[in-house]
C-alpha cells in the first residue's frame, strides 16, 4: 500500500521554498524547452556534426552558427564523481550532500550531471534532462535500466513530479477521464485522491467505482463558483500536492454556429476563470509547500485541448478557452518558479466523448488521457501530449506554428 510519510511535527516550521540557481543563457533555455518535453537534446553542428555542450552560439569545432537542437543518445559513462557537502547556495544547503559526476557521453561531449544513488564512477548511465524547482533543465545520470527504485531515489524525486506518496486533487470528477485518472494515480503510488464533484444535486453514476479504488474521496468543488473553490481550499489546500485541473466545458462548433455567447461564457467560466479561481484558492498554499519534505507540493496540471496551440474549427471556443488557459498556465509557471511546484500542460486530442461524436478517429480514449497525465507526472515533464491527434498537431506546431495553424483551417492536402 501507499503510505504517507510520517505526519508533520506541528512545532516545526515548514521548509521555506528557496529557488535553486535559476539563471541561464538563452541557448541553455533551449535545452530546458526540450527537457520540458521529456527529451534529452544537445546542439549538433549543421556543418561538421560536432555535438556541443554546454550550449553555444557557434560550433566549437568549425565556428558554424548552424547549431541545431537534436535528440541525442543519452548513453554514457561516469568518469569522475564527487559528493558535494558544502555550498554557499541556500537551496542546495538544504539538500547536502549532493552527488554529481562527470559523464562522458557516447555522443562525444562530457558533462556535469546530478547522480542517481545507484550509479557512480565507472558505471554506464543514461542522462536525462529534468526540470528542477527553478524551472530549468538539470541533467541527471540514471541507471541504464529503468526500475521502481529509480523513482524513489531522492534526487529523482527532487527532479520529478511523481505522484507516489502524494495527495492529488482531480478537479472534475465528472470528466470522462476522471475515473481512469484516479485509478492510474493510485496505481502510481498516490497516497490519496480527492475527486471534485460539482452540482452534487446531480446524480453521479460512477460513485461506487471511485469508492472501490480505495484511497479516494469526494470533495465538493465547482470551479465556476468562487466560494466553492475557496471553501475547499480552506479545507484541503494544505494537503494537495498535485492539482489536476481537468475542469472544462466543451461544445462543438465555430464562431458562427450559435446566436449567443452562453456556451462560450460557460467554456470561459469553466476553463479560464475556473483556472484562475483554482489558482487563487490553491496556488499560494501549494507554493508554500513546494519544498515540504518528500511529499512536497509538486505539480499543477492543466489539461488542455490541442486546439490551445492549433485552433480547431470543429471546437473553436474550446480552442480559444484552451489558448487562454495556456497563457495563464505559462504565467502561473513563472509565478511558481523557485517554489518547487511545476506547471504541467497536457495537450489532449479530441476525447472520445459525447462532445466529439462527429469527429473521425483516432480519438483519445479517456484512459489514454489519464495515462498521459500520470506519465508526465512520473517523469516530471512540463509539456506533454495525449493521443495521436495531439501528438501530430504538436509536432507540426513545434516545426512551424503559422503553417500548422493555417493548415488546420482546411484546404491543405494531406
Amino acid at each position: 500500500m501507499n503510505r504517507l510519510p510520517p505526519k508533520k511535527n506541528p512545532l516545526k516550521r515548514t521548509q521555506v521554498p528557496v529557488s535553486p540557481p535559476g539563471m541561464r543563457s538563452r541557448a541553455a533555455t533551449a535545452m530546458t524547452v526540450a527537457a520540458a518535453e521529456g527529451r534529452f537534446a544537445l546542439q549538433h553542428c549543421g556543418e561538421c556534426g560536432a555535438v556541443q555542450y554546454p550550449p553555444r552560439e557557434l560550433c566549437r569545432g568549425c565556428l558554424s552558427d548552424a547549431l541545431e537542437w537534436r535528440d541525442t543518445d543519452p548513453s554514457g559513462a561516469v568518469i569522475a564523481e564527487t559528493t558535494t557537502r558544502v555550498t554557499p547556495d541556500t537551496y542546495f544547503r538544504g539538500l547536502m550532500p549532493v552527488r554529481i559526476a562527470t559523464v562522458l557521453l557516447d555522443a562525444g561531449p562530457s558533462l556535469i550531471a546530478r547522480l542517481h544513488g545507484a550509479v557512480g564512477r565507472g558505471d554506464r548511465v543514461r542522462v536525462a534532462a529534468r526540470i528542477d524547482a527553478a524551472g530549468q533543465a538539470i541533467l541527471l545520470a540514471l541507471p541504464e535500466q529503468e526500475g521502481t527504485e529509480v523513482r524513489d531515489d531522492p534526487t529523482v524525486r527532487e527532479l520529478s513530479t511523481d505522484p507516489r506518496l502524494r495527495r492529488v486533487l482531480i478537479v472534475d470528477g465528472r470528466a470522462p477521464e476522471a475515473l481512469a485518472l484516479a485509478r492510474g494515480l493510485l496505481e502510481a503510488g498516490a497516497a490519496h485522491v480527492f475527486v471534485g464533484l460539482s452540482e452534487i444535486w446531480k446524480p453521479f453514476a460512477l460513485r461506487d467505482q471511485f469508492v472501490a479504488l480505495g484511497a479516494c474521496s469526494f470533495v465538493k468543488l465547482d470551479v465556476t463558483d468562487a466560494d466553492s473553490v475557496q471553501d475547499l481550499a480552506a479545507e484541503i489546500g494544505g494537503k494537495v500536492e498535485i492539482l489536476i485541473d481537468n475542469a472544462r466545458f466543451t461544445r462543438p462548433g465555430g464562431v458562427l454556429g450559435r446566436a449567443d455567447t452562453v456556451f462560450a461564457r460557460q467554456e470561459l467560466e469553466n476553463g479560464v476563470l475556473g483556472m484562475i479561481r483554482l489558482a487563487q484558492g490553491f496556488g499560494r498554499a501549494m507554493q508554500a509547500r513546494g519544498q515540504d519534505g518528500v511529499n512536497s507540493a509538486v505539480a499543477w496540471v492543466s489539461i488542455l485541448p490541442i486546439g490551445a496551440l492549433v485552433p480547431q474549427m470543429s471546437h473553436a471556443m474550446a480552442s480559444a478557452s484552451g489558448a487562454a488557459v495556456l497563457a495563464l498556465s505559462h504565467a502561473l509557471r513563472g509565478e511558481m518558479r523557485g517554489s518547487g511546484v511545476r506547471v504541467i500542460n497536457i495537450y489532449a486530442g479530441p476525447v472520445d466523448d459525447e462532445w466529439h461524436q462527429e469527429l473521425p478517429q483516432p480519438k483519445l480514449a479517456p484512459k489514454a488521457l489519464a495515462q498521459a497525465v500520470v506519465k508526465a507526472l512520473v517523469e516530471g515533464r512540463e509539456e506533454a501530449t495525449a493521443g495521436e491527434v495531439a501528438r501530430d498537431l504538436y509536432a507540426r506546431w513545434r516545426e512551424d506554428p503559422a503553417l500548422a495553424i493555417r493548415e488546420a483551417l482546411g484546404g491543405t492536402t494531406a
Binding site: 569522475a80 564523481e81 562527470t102 562530457s110 546530478r114
Partner: protein
C-alpha cells in the same frame, strides 16, 4: 617557434596588501592600495606610471578605464588581464613586452578583489556563462565541486593518494607559519589534513582555499630605470601563456603548461632543475601536482608523488609556495594569481624576510585560472632571475 627574449626589462617593487577574511572595502580600494604600496617601494608617484594592468573579478560596475579615473592615472598602456589565477605571469609578460617595445616606461601590474559577506556566492553564480548554465546549478559547489571531479579522476588515473596532496598542504602551512601576513597560521599535521571534514569528496577542508579580500602589485620597467632608482629587481628569463589547451580531454588532467613547457625552458636557457624555488597556483593541491609534472619536473602523473617525496618548506630541497600560498594565505580573488609572483620577486631579490629561501636566485612562477565550466582555461608560467643589487 622561439619567442624573443625579454631583454632589458625587469620586474621590481612587489607589494602585498595584507589579506582580510571579510572586508567592506571594494576592489577599487584593494587595487589602489596595492598600487600605492608598489610605487612607494619604488620611490615613485602616480605621475610616474604610464602603464597599468588590472586583474579583478569584483570591479563591477567599473572597468580598468574607470580605475584610471578613480586613481588619477594618465596612461599610454592599459590592459585588463582577466585570466584569473594565471594573471601574475600573464600580466608580467604583457607588461614586459609593452616596456620592451617602448609603449610604456613603467607599467604597474595590479590585482585585487573585495570579499564581503555573501559576495563569494554572488561571484560563483554568475562566474561565467558555462558555469551559470552547466556547473553551478549542479549542487552549487563552485570550484570545489569541479576540482573534486578532476581530483577524483586524477587519483584514479594516476594512483595519487590523499596523503600526497596532504603533504603539499601541510608543507605550505609550515611555510605560512613563518609568514605573519598569512591568514591561516595554526599548526597543521598530515593527520589533521586527513581527518578534516570533507568539502566535496575527495577534497577535504585543507584542500580548499578560503576566499578573502586583498591586493597585490608589482612594477615592470627597463633595467636602466630600475638601476637609476637603485631598486632590487629580477630579470624575466622566459614567460608563456596558453588558453584552453586540450579541449578534447573529457576531464582535465593536464594544462597548457604541458604544451609550452619546452618553449618556457628553451627561452630561459635553463631546466627545471635549475630553479631555487617553485610557486605554483595552488587553488587545490592536485593543480600544484599538474603544474609540476606538466612543466617537466617529473614524468606525467608523478607530480603528487614527486612533491610528497620532497621537503617543500622554505628550508627544504624543493621550496614550494614559500609564503604559504593561497591554501594557507587565503585566496583574494585575482590577487591570488599575483601572490606567487610577488613572493617570487621578493625571494630572488633576497627580500622575502621570514620566508626567505637561502640564496634563492631563480624561481618558477606558474599560474592557472578561469574555471569557465569544468576546467581551468588559462595557464601561464614565468621564470625569473634576481639580480643582487
Amino acid at each position: 617557434m622561439r619567442t624573443a627574449p625579454y631583454e632589458g626589462v625587469v620586474v621590481t617593487a612587489p607589494f602585498t596588501v595584507p589579506y582580510v577574511r571579510f572586508s567592506p572595502r571594494p576592489a577599487q580600494y584593494w587595487i589602489g592600495a596595492a598600487l600605492r604600496g608598489a610605487l612607494a617601494a619604488a620611490g615613485l608617484g602616480p605621475r610616474d606610471v604610464d602603464g597599468l594592468t588590472v586583474s579583478s573579478f569584483t570591479l563591477f560596475p567599473d572597468t580598468a578605464p574607470g580605475l584610471t579615473d578613480h586613481l588619477g592615472l594618465t596612461l599610454n598602456y592599459l590592459d585588463t588581464v582577466t585570466v584569473g589565477g594565471a594573471c601574475g605571469a600573464v600580466a608580467l609578460r604583457r607588461a614586459a613586452r609593452a616596456v620592451q617595445a617602448g609603449e610604456a616606461e613603467v607599467v604597474a601590474c595590479t590585482a585585487g578583489d573585495a570579499n564581503g559577506i555573501d559576495s563569494f556566492r554572488r561571484l560563483l553564480q554568475s562566474f561565467s556563462r558555462f558555469a551559470m548554465d552547466a556547473s553551478y546549478p549542479y549542487g552549487a559547489g563552485g570550484p570545489n565541486a569541479v576540482f573534486a571531479l578532476l581530483t577524483d579522476h586524477y587519483m584514479q588515473k594516476y594512483g595519487a593518494a590523499r596523503e600526497d596532496f596532504g603533504r603539499i598542504a601541510v608543507a605550505q602551512r609550515d611555510n605560512a607559519r613563518r609568514n605573519p601576513q598569512a591568514l591561516m597560521r595554526g599548526r597543521l599535521t598530515l593527520e589533521d589534513y586527513l581527518n578534516a571534514r570533507m568539502i566535496s569528496d575527495p577534497l577535504g577542508l585543507f584542500d580548499c582555499v578560503m576566499p578573502c579580500a586583498g591586493g597585490e602589485a608589482f612594477l615592470v620597467m627597463t633595467e636602466d630605470r630600475a638601476r637609476s632608482l637603485n631598486l632590487p629587481f629580477a630579470r624575466i628569463l622566459s614567460a608563456v601563456e596558453r588558453h584552453n589547451a586540450f579541449p578534447e580531454d573529457s576531464v582535465q588532467y593536464r594544462g597548457g603548461w604541458a604544451e609550452n613547457a619546452g618553449r618556457l625552458w628553451d627561452g630561459a636557457g635553463i631546466g627545471p632543475g635549475d630553479v631555487d624555488l617553485v610557486q605554483t597556483y595552488d587553488d587545490y593541491p592536485v593543480i600544484c601536482a599538474m603544474q609540476v609534472e606538466d612543466l617537466g619536473f617529473c614524468a606525467k602523473g608523478e607530480g603528487a608523488r614527486f612533491m610528497a617525496a620532497r621537503d617543500m618548506t622554505v628550508t627544504g630541497d624543493f621550496p614550494h609556495n614559500t609564503s604559504g600560498g593561497q591554501l594557507s594565505g587565503g585566496q583574494a580573488g585575482a590577487a591570488g594569481g599575483f601572490l606567487g609572483m610577488t613572493e617570487a620577486i621578493r625571494q630572488v631579490t633576497n627580500r622575502a624576510g621570514p620566508t626567505q629561501v637561502p640564496g634563492a636566485r631563480r624561481a618558477l612562477v606558474s599560474g592557472f585560472g578561469m574555471v569557465n565550466f569544468d576546467r581551468g582555461i588559462c595557464t601561464a608560467a614565468a621564470v625569473i632571475e634576481g639580480v643582487q643589487a
